[in-house]
């Protein structure tokens, strides 16, 4: 099958890859760009583990055709790290024991970032709503909700 040339911004950097028609963004990120932070949970929109931001908006990368991000900006969990420094959300996740196996964590962090970017002081119900497309097997969600609220509170103090 013919490959298509695809250019987009990946975590602030311009990238160019060749993709097969019909390839989804999750696969393109993991296998062609080597960014393993978006996780493959189900490949069909049921778990949220593959969540990324496209032009600042939350999307499931497994349901996004790679070709549709041409010229756009894609942010993954990888963009949160700043050398050895944790992003305030990552810090809050660690402090609140919001990860056990960690498989849902990249998707949770992206969903939380999308929320706090547009609503820095969310209510508890808004946090629940924001992560409601993400499944977690281990934590019972409570520590994750608390972590997002803590990150929002620490941002308010800063």
């Amino acid at each position: 099958m013919a490959k298509t040339a695809l250019q987009f911004r990946h975590n602030g950097r311009d990238v160019a890859i060749f993709v097969d028609g019909g390839v989804n963004l999750l696969l393109a990120l993991r296998e062609l760009i080597g960014d393993m932070t978006p996780k493959f949970g189900c490949g069909q929109g049921g778990c949220g583990a593959c969540s990324v931001l496209i032009d600042g908006e939350l999307h499931l990368s497994c349901l996004t055709l790679a070709e549709t991000v041409a010229g756009r900006s894609v942010e993954t969990l990888e963009s949160m790290k700043d050398g050895p420094n944790l992003h305030p959300l990552q810090r809050a996740f660690a402090d609140n024991f919001a990860a056990q196996c960690g498989y849902c964590t990249p998707g949770m962090l992206m969903a939380a970032k999308a929320l706090l970017d547009r609503n820095p002081q969310p209510s508890r119900a808004e946090v629940v709503e924001a992560i409601s497309g993400n499944i977690c097997r281990c934590t019972g969600y409570e520590p994750i909700i608390n972590a997002v609220l803590a990150a929002s509170a620490s941002r308010a103090r800063a």
Binding site: G46, E129, S132, T139, G140, Y141, P143
Partner: protein, 340 residues
Amino acid sequence: MTRHHGRGIASINYPIGMNLGGDPSQALVHSNPSGKFTVALSSIDLGQGMKSVTRQICAETLGVPVEDVYVDTADSDTGPHCMGSFASRGTHRVGNAVMAAAREARGVMMEAAAEELEVNAADLETDGRGNIHVKGAPHRSISTKDVAIAAQFKQGRTISGRGIFLVPLSDVDPETGEMSPATCYAHACLVAEVEVDDETGEVSMVRMDSAYELGRALNPRLVEQQLVGGAWMGVSHALYETTEPYYPNPAHGPRDFVDYLMPGPGNICPHDIAVLERPAADGPFGAKGPGEMCANPVLPAVANAIFNAVGVRIDELPITPEKVLRAIKAQGGARPQPRR
């Protein structure tokens, strides 16, 4: 349509580990020339905290800072044998094995230090900050790093230790059939409050209150994380998830997260947890194991709460809206039970 409120309670007596032919785990501890220690295990950490808790146990036993211990659980082909991470056995079985291995390694470390300081090993103690000194004379001191270097490059000694913890197979008394399947029991009690919709059969969680007696909590935050998360695995087994919805007929099994239901963030409710610490005589530093039992009392408590709410007794899991509705119809309507 009415939403009926119900409350149910359940208590459990939970044996730590299993005993179907003995239940061993091994651990190996050795020092590196940097003065850091490596614990080799085959006991996999799936996020429960096995690495953290064995690291703490090793550091405490060796008398070195926790930062100086690295736990490697990477490979069950090359690591020492372990029965596995299940039955809440990790902290208890593997922790005991690590403790034994660390004790042996500490013995060698103290011998090596004694040789360097030209004193008797029995006169030495660790300060927990990476130094070994003569009791009552802290200035006669050597760092664990210098001891490791001396052992490796001068004395030709391996600072290492082996540990195994085995609960032997319990014999069955031929007369009475009595046996002792476990050496250590944890306990829990949980009260679940639910709401049952008598038109849809849907059950929602209102709140949970629980108490867990689990020996010494070696890492209280990890214990709390297990109890909070594990309770929702219990709720999920009680109300949502199954691989065989029409068991024993395998048809209509779920193939994805759309069919295989689990609670989402919108389904959770407040859960108040009390942890009671009664150190176990044969546990490492008194620990039992909070693992699997964090989910166990939830299922019967939820089933009891549903009975209390609408008077139907469902004994097949998960307790789906379909089962609740059929049972309510069969008895001619909801029959709320008295609250005691």
